[in-house]
Amino acid sequence: MVSITLFLALAAILFCIGLYGVLTRRHLVIVLASIELMLNAVNINLVAFSAIGPFANITGQVFTLFVITVAAAEAAVALAILIALYRNRNSIDVLKHDLLRW
């Protein structure tokens, strides 16, 4: 039996990579991809706890399915917004979009 700690460590590493990407990359598509990475880190956690957690339960796997679905929908919406943004502003550089600044 593999210890749960390994799964959690993998998820944490994956999450941090995603977080690093979200916070540092200027290309919005990559930021989006990094978010997907973070979501997948969460999924790993959910599946791991569902299989070998202290209160092993099917609910975790169900939630993973939900997360994947929502992530897909989110990616679709986000990409649509990105395209619209690119058409309007000719750039998807994060630093150039601070219109809502005070």
Binding site: L19, V22, L23, T24, V94, L95, D98, L99, L100, R101, W102
Partner: protein, 676 residues
Amino acid sequence: MCHGILKEKGVGMMHYAWLIPVFPLITFLILLVAGRVLKEKVAYIGIAGLALSFLLSVLVLLERIGGETYTYVLNWMTVGENVVTMGYEVTALNAMMLIVVTLVSLVVHIFSKEYMKEDDRIHVFFAYLGLFSFSMLGLVLAPNILQLFIFWELVGLCSFLLVGFWYFKPEAAAAAKKAFLITRIGDVGLLIGLVLLFNRVGSFNYAEIYTAVEMDQLSAPMITTIALLIFLGAVGKSAQFPLHVWLPDAMEGPTPVSALIHAATMVAAGVYLIGVMYPLFLASSTAMTVVAYTGALTALFAATMALVNNDIKRILAYSTISQLGFMILALGTAGYVAGLFHLMTHAFFKALLFLGAGSVIFAVHHRQDIRDMGGLWGKMKVTSVTFLIGSLAIAGIFPLAGFWSKEEILASTLINGDGFLFLIALVTAFLTAFYMFRLFFKTFTGEFKGGDLNDPTEETFNEQAAWEATQSAEVGLDAGYEERKVYPNHQEVPENEPRENAGLMTFPLMVLAVLAVIAGFINAPFLGHQLEAFLTAGLNVGTQPHGALWLAFLSVAVAVAGISLAWAMYVKGFIREDFFSSKAPSIHKLFQNNYYLDDIYLAVFVRPTKEISLLLWEMDKTIVDGVITLIGSLTSRSGKAMGKHQDGQLQTYGLVTVFGGMVVIGLAFAVRGYFG
């Protein structure tokens, strides 16, 4: 007597006494609404209203003689558990006052019809006169001191309006303001006095106040305080020292106004106030002493200022102050009847003198400097003779009205006062005779010094010139030229000689002259002191002092001495006119400048107040407002400083959030060991 007949008929005139002030009020309202339409007819309405009031006053007086005091009140306001009432009351004193006020007001109305006929705003003038008559009569009829105060303020308002009637003259506007403000100082004293009375007596009614004083419900210091506060009101209204400075300036108003308000009626209200509050004053010897000395000093000071003035109206104004001082001196020395008797006689002869002065001023085209007059005796017969009668009356020559009342004042000063007061009274009587005849001789005898009446010289005090000067300075000559028609004196026929005025102006003079001759007899000793019996019946105002026969002779002798001195100086020239001024120029200057009181007030009260206010305003803008502005700007500046870090970059925000979260988690570990 007539009252018997009236009683048989059961008319009950006193019940209708409330109508007396209502008639002038109605004329006021009519003129206010329809004045512009009625134009020159307004005078008839005003005269008719006052004539009705006068007739009713006569009927009321006749019924009151031998009758009882009549009171009628309504609830006015509830104050806690106390109910304040308003209404009217006919007492002996106010029955007499009604006659005085309505009569003088009536003759002044008649006089004004002619005097003001050329003024565009004659309807406003008569409206104000109506309002004044209403207020003054309301004051007189008041059954309680609060109602008196209400009308007291209203007459002050009318005085303000009428002094400032020629509002476009800066002097008139300033004088109106000054009159209102300075009397207001006294009024606040009166207000506080009556508030203190109310708090202790629970009522404003005269009757209840008298009872409270009799039953010793008030402590002695409180009685003195209240009496002095009420006296402060009288000092302001009756232009006593040191609040007298407004009255000479108030002469900026039209002359009929000076006769009515600033000689016969309103300024006497202070004396009347002391009269109705007399039991309170009698209960405090301190207050009586203050009253007596204020009156005496005012009488003397004002007389000295009258000696050196050259403006015919201002001389009369100082004379009024002096005579009011006499009345107050009489009241302060327990001469209740003497003071009020002098109030009545003075009302008649001083109104006569003012109207006479008005007649003169009208004839010489609105000049008021007596140095530009002279020689009017032959040219203005009626005015001259009546003016002489008035002067003799005020000087106290037997058997004119002033003699009887002045003699009683001297008697009360001698018997109840001290030697000093008597001496002041005597000196003042001498000065009165002197300055009045200085005025008379310079105006009516000798040669006319006015020159061509249509060529007013620069030295002349002249409303027209003053007005035009201000106009040309302000808006150019054209506007000033248009304004001319508002002046009542502007006669189109060129003439170089003053001449007697129309009958409407001389008739009032004759009426008042007759009264100035006979009014004194109602309290003459040989007729049994009729007025005294009438006024003191049922009132506890002490025994009235009566002088011995030698006092009457002394009083006449002093008056004759004064007249002779004036005759010697101004007619015969035995003594040079500038004898006094050259011997003691500094004193002469002191008198001429009103003892520098105006300047002292300006330096002591007006300027410091203004300085303090300006300082406070600066403080208000810098400190009080500054603190708030500082707090506001601190907030917005710190907001701006923080705002710089809001760069709009999602990634920065995310970074901060992540670090913040890590710090929170770290803290949780550090403080509590673990999440447990």
